[in-house]
Symmetry: C2
Subunit: 324 residues, 2 copies
């Protein structure tokens, strides 16, 4: 099987790594001069971390081919994953070319974090095989993929996506109605906006906010999510009791909902300064390595418990075992 | 040393457990008929989980005394922790009585998640020794405490709080300016409001949202927080590049910021129904046990890595070692 990866930044490179480490051949197209070096770094990181999640060996690594142009990259692909920049005009141009140059039965997935699938399509024929498959950085470790069909996506394309992503050890979640930014980025954006206010208003620094998340609600959410955590908070009365008890807070000034912070040059400088101080000189590569090692350690712990990500990993490992 | 715990629901009970397991004597006052049973259950859970975080024994457990009235509970306490319901009138009444009945040098901490410390005080003398120490459920496992003084809180009271909380193995974060709901609950509330919209509009179920968090951004935040994760997302350009790249999203309809969902009876029923389905018959106690075991497993993994919560735990363990 061969995947075409169009756009090989952090996300496209992560896709390439996941496909390759699960035995797929991959052709990559990215016109940027730095793409190849970035891709190699991502591959190195993936080879270092992903195999640690399993007690079974992964399949033999597939072959990586760098294509000189888009047409060559997609010509004989069985799956096309578009991960170019979050720029609607660019994405539409790319999807126009992809629709023309690929076999008419091949699914075309976009990694877009923000756009609805229906706005990406070039024409009606293209529509039927296009859907959003939005992964999360680092793509080679985090299993989530938001799978968002438009009303015109063929049901067989959706089925194909769901089973393919599972075969890559991922957790596809089918989002039934398309909406700007799908689910995860809407949730993150809501919190991000509030976090920007807190920094702008001098309530907390970037480091203090990160500490609050790491030592407080972050570990709750990582293993149970939002609703199941609150179900417990409701005590024996469960979710209904929780909603009744905490409902009034929706009317309280507990977030700056009615307003969006303006990213002035000053605010950007201040946040960058605080973030630099917080990193204590660690390079991005070093931070990435820390993150990956932390994720592997947490994921192994949750795998033993068969909870959250651990359940996904155990299912993936069972598939590796059947393959042996 | 003796702590008075006023109000022994989920939060007050968690405080009692943390104090007791760190060798403090605790007097508890809670007029509710079910408080004692709840407290025993919380203590059982804490005894089961908290010691697993350390490779050193905790101090001998302190003595738990149930006081017949508020005055007896606080009379000779060295620390008073108020955790009554989130009802401003009730909290003010309790703080009035606590201010009168306690030694004038004893710090009085409120567990309030929403109120600013300056609105809780009964009078000026009380003001100086009152501050917010807002913990997170389960209090016996999660280290975070938001420490929020008002402008009138004495600096020695703040110092006392910070060192006391560290001695309890916790991570106090000093919030420099008081604001409704402090930091964590503002962040959580922003996301919660967006999550309610997603359920109400039929975009995703409670279970799908939880899966998105568990398998996607939850594990990123649990070990690095928000800003450090985004610093990595900016690649070699770091935070400044990230802000410039994703700044435009602040203008996009990526969350329902300008509006707050109404918790109709219908929406409450729908969420409760979805949450019931998701729990698959697990009782709240069973879910609590799952949560605690997951947290212990993740925390042990992060302790090996000395990252996030792991750093806090290693510092606490070093203190236990010095004590031996």
């Amino acid at each position: 099987m061969k995947a075409a990866v169009v756009g090989a930044g952090v996300i496209g490179g992560g896709w390439a790594a996941r496909f390759l480490l699960h035995g797929w051949n991959v052709t990559v197209f990215d016109p940027s001069a730095t793409a190849r070096a970035g891709l190699e770094a991502t591959l190195t990181a993936a080879r270092r971390s992903l195999p640690k999640l399993y007690d079974r060996p992964l399949p033999d690594e597939g072959r990586l081919i760098t294509a000189p142009d888009l047409e060559t990259a997609i010509a004989d692909a069985d799956w096309i994953q578009e991960s170019v920049s979050e720029d609607l005009d660019l994405k539409r141009r790319v999807h126009g070319a992809v629709a023309k140059g690929s076999r008419p039965d091949v699914p075309i997935a976009s990694s877009t974090s923000g756009f609805r699938p229906s706005v990406l399509a070039a024409d009606t024929a293209h529509d039927a095989r296009l859907l959003v498959c939005h992964p999360f950085n680092p793509v080679y470790l985090l299993p989530l993929v938001e799978v968002v069909p438009s009303e015109r996506t063929g049901p067989e394309v959706l089925d194909r996506a769901m089973s393919l992503l599972e075969a890559l050890g991922m957790k596809p979640v089918h989002i039934r109605r398309e909406i700007d930014a799908h689910v995860a980025d809407r949730l993150m954006e809501a919190m991000w906006r509030e976090a920007l206010w807190l920094v702008r208003d001098g309530i907390a620094t970037t480091e203090e906010i990160d500490t609050v998340i790491r030592c407080g609600f972050g570990p709750r959410w990582a293993q149970m999510g939002l609703f199941e955590t609150y179900r417990i908070a409701g005590g024996e009365g469960g979710m209904k009791h929780f909603l009744t008890q905490f409902g009034p807070a929706l009317k309280w000034p507990w977030s700056r909902l009615t307003d969006v912070p303006e990213l002035t040059g000053e605010l950007i400088e201040e946040i960058a300064r605080q973030s630099d101080a917080q990193a204590q000189g660690a390079s991005i590569r070093e931070l990435e390595r820390h993150r990956d090692d932390n994720l592997v350690a947490m994921f192994r712990a949750l795998k033993t418990r068969n909870q959250g990500v651990g359940e996904v990993l155990n299912a993936a490992e069972a598939r590796l075992r059947r393959r042996d």
